[in-house]
Subunit: 483 residues, 2 copies
């Protein structure tokens, strides 16, 4: 017999059934009631909680609707799930602080300056994580438009999860990288940033601790932090995030999820090893820690394909996988996707409907055609070659101008070089001086608080000449501060 | 000399300068310090508040940056603005409750049932506020795609406020309906629902009171309420919202803004008179009550153009005007716009960048071309004729089947007939029974709490035969409940 001392509080502003739902969620979340655990009968629960049986029934119905328990009159009610739905915010009060005053004020100012500078026509953009206009396959997209001009379906609203043809094509693509998914487990989003916003809105509480790589792109995202996320950085070694540190931290802090960019990470460009991916899924599975896998740089590999996504090794619906075409094809189409367990995807789709009533039907039609015609796959080959040329020019320039001043990695794909200066300097000063010389670069402290030794060099946007000139000028500005 | 007893609290978690900013905002908001009011000198303020002069300077700089005050060393500092920026949430703690537990549970359930049912292929959709596929000009859009397939610009990210060519075209269009606007005062959004979401996120606090027409579409929007808005309904008379009631209520409740659909209102189909529009702007100006004008049905007039938008009579940047092409052209392009004072638009654009990094560039290009070619204007003429035919069929059916059971308005434009039953019935029961007979209709209590006598009949989506059949069936179901 269970020993439960808790009873719902009749003076609480929450209704009794909601209090019971939250109590049981706690039991499941902490693992006290594991998957397979058989709940006491409705009658026993109503005695333990000192409430009417109808109150217990209503609480159990809610837990069943959220996919946490399942039962029938005969065999009793059992716990069937213990991850995603526990983070749901359906029945607890949630408060999303929109802009936290004062926090990371400097970073925010820099981000605003960056956003403004990016639209100055004469700026050298070495901070962008978007493809240069010359990398975007305009002729190819124009060809698709021509085809659609003869045969496109009506442009009404799409289904909540997105155009079914596109979702099928995404599933076909996912299969090529090792992920088996059904279209019902895919949500089309307006780009990857929206994917993250939907996850924040739908699955995180204020002050939810989210483990991130250290450094990580996530630190630069005001949205995520605005909605109350607390990033908690985990060190990276040669093979990826350090699992022991992650697990130790999680046992102390009970974080809500892990956010990782295992492939061509932003900002370091590093790649998590195959072995580490497998170990990570196993560890997170044991710890009941869901994973957000941001995989938008995957197709931009140079010499060999990166390991399969973490999602490929996920047997229990632990991983929410994010992808899209903004980095390797066209940011302007604003097409991304989230792949996860169906319950979670449905919840996120519901929130998306409340947010913008779906992604551009035209963009979805064009992207469907890009996939189904095979053009998407052909284009990736060209894209990889072109981005590699850019990387080589950047590496060449670093060798010329930064030898003795800093060290850097050689990225095997993606857009970024993580430049470590031999000495710490004022990043804000460097950023401002560079900007006054029309060079936009991201100081490392956008990705790791209090970092004064790193710069993220992006070679995706600036022209080859600009990359050389930009790195040369940066080396002069750094030298001014050091010597 | 001013009599100020207040001092910042050194034990508060807010920094002193922030407390001073909020104190002064309060003075401006209440009208105690009106536009033109000269603030005490920095030295005097630092004595009054018992803080360093640098703290006062920092507070005044913030207020100036928000556009509330302006000053120079010589002439002193004056209040220059007293509306939008006061609602800003830049420097106060804000908490956005995401889903309020229990609130309007029934409505939410109905909304979910509606969202699911809308994608059943065999359903008769008399609840939708979207155009039927046959009303969407597919050939026209295909022609535009063909043109763009020869000449489209690169599909990268767009500027935060949206494609400049599109914003210019929107301004040209706005001029035809009496609104003078500069492209810098226009923000392109992913449809109108996103416009409302950005306004909630950027300009409203939790528990902000928003005055709405009674009944109003806004009641059916979970998004708006999820973010903490408290709707406060104001009665409509023959000419529109009752201004005396609005002003009286506002003096007691200090609402944040008025949300109105003056033209072909959702759900009643009513039109605010020209005179009332002018009086409303004047009254709101006096009361410092900003207005959100939702004008998405404007182009769907039948016999004569509706009065100019409220925005046309707004000399002080009091009105945020929302428009788009989802109702009269294509929902699938997901293009809407917000027009307002530049400061507000910039804030909303900033939030949009954090939300989805801009609207589909392809959709924006297509819409630009629709406007610049004149096709947009030509299409509206056809659209009006077709929607009018649908209205007439609906009116005919009502006459046949609802005479003696209910009364209704004759809409002069838009999509809706607001059907009043002679007796109250269970709306939920009617909704469910109708659904079981494959008819989707919106019960009136989605738009006005506890209403049991109204149905919103939409004639935009169902075919002409379906409209007749649907209204006939509804009359049978209503009769079953009454008699």
């Amino acid at each position: 017999m269970l020993d439960i001392n808790w009873r719902p509080d009749r003076n609480s502003p929450y209704r009794l059934n909601i209090q019971i739902v939250n109590f049981i969620k706690d039991k499941i979340a902490t693992g006290e009631w594991p998957v397979g655990f058989k709940l006491p009968s409705q009658r026993t629960l109503s005695e333990i909680f000192c409430v009417n049986r109808s109150t217990v029934v209503s609480a159990l119905e809610e837990l069943a609707a959220e996919g946490l328990i399942s039962g029938n009159a005969g065999g009793g009610t059992k716990v069937i799930n213990n991850t995603w739905t526990l983070m749901s915010i359906n029945h607890s009060h949630n408060w999303l602080p929109y802009i936290s005053s004062g926090l990371h004020q400097t970073n925010q100012n820099i981000m605003q300056q960056i956003n403004q500078a990016e639209f100055q026509p004469d700026i050298i953009r070495m901070g962008s994580c978007e493809p240069s206009p010359e990398l975007i396959p305009n002729k190819m997209i124009q060809g698709v438009l021509k085809k659609l001009s003869k045969s496109m379906a009506s442009l009404g609203y799409e289904e909540p999860k997105g155009n079914i043809h596109l979702r099928r094509e995404v599933c076909t693509y996912l299969k090529t990288i090792g992920i088996e998914a059904d279209p019902s487990s895919v949500l089309i989003t307006s780009g990857v940033l929206q994917a993250l916003q939907l996850i924040s809105l739908g699955l995180l509480h204020t002050n939810s601790v989210v483990y991130v790589e250290k450094p990580s792109y996530l630190y630069s995202l005001r949205t995520f932090q605005s909605f109350g996320m607390q990033p908690s950085g985990i060190k990276l070694d040669e093979e990826g995030i350090e699992i022991k540190e992650l697990v130790d931290r999680h046992r102390r802090r009970k974080g809500a999820m892990l956010f990782t960019i295992p492939t061509f990470q932003n900002p370091t460009g590093s790649v998590m090893s195959l072995e580490r991916r497998k170990t990570l899924v196993d560890a997170c599975d044991r710890e009941r820690l869901p994973i957000i896998e941001d995989d938008v740089y995957r197709e931009l590999w140079f010499d060999e394909q990166p390991p399969q996504p973490i999602k490929a090794f996920d047997n229990n619906g632990l991983v929410l996988y994010i992808g899209g075409i903004s980095k390797n094809l066209s940011p302007g189409l604003r097409i991304g996707w989230i792949v996860g367990s169906e319950k979670v995807i449905e919840r996120l789709a519901d929130i998306k409907m409340q947010t913008d009533y779906g992604t551009s039907s035209l963009s979805q039609n064009v992207t469907t055609e890009l996939f189904s015609s095979g053009l998407y796959y052909q284009h990736n080959d060209i894209m990889r070659k072109n981005v590699k040329i850019r990387r080589d020019v950047a590496l060449e320039a670093l060798k010329k101008y930064f030898t003795g001043i800093g060290t850097w990695n050689i990225p095997r794909g993606g857009y970024f070089i993580w430049l470590k200066l031999n000495e710490g300097i004022s990043m804000y000063q460097l950023f401002t001086k560079a900007l006054s010389r029309k060079i936009l670069v991201h100081p490392g402290d956008l990705y790791e608080f209090h970092s004064d030794q790193y710069l993220r060099i992006s070679y995706s946007y600036a022209s080859l000449n600009e990359i050389d000139y930009g790195i040369k000028t940066l080396s002069e500005l750094v030298a001014e501060q050091i010597f």
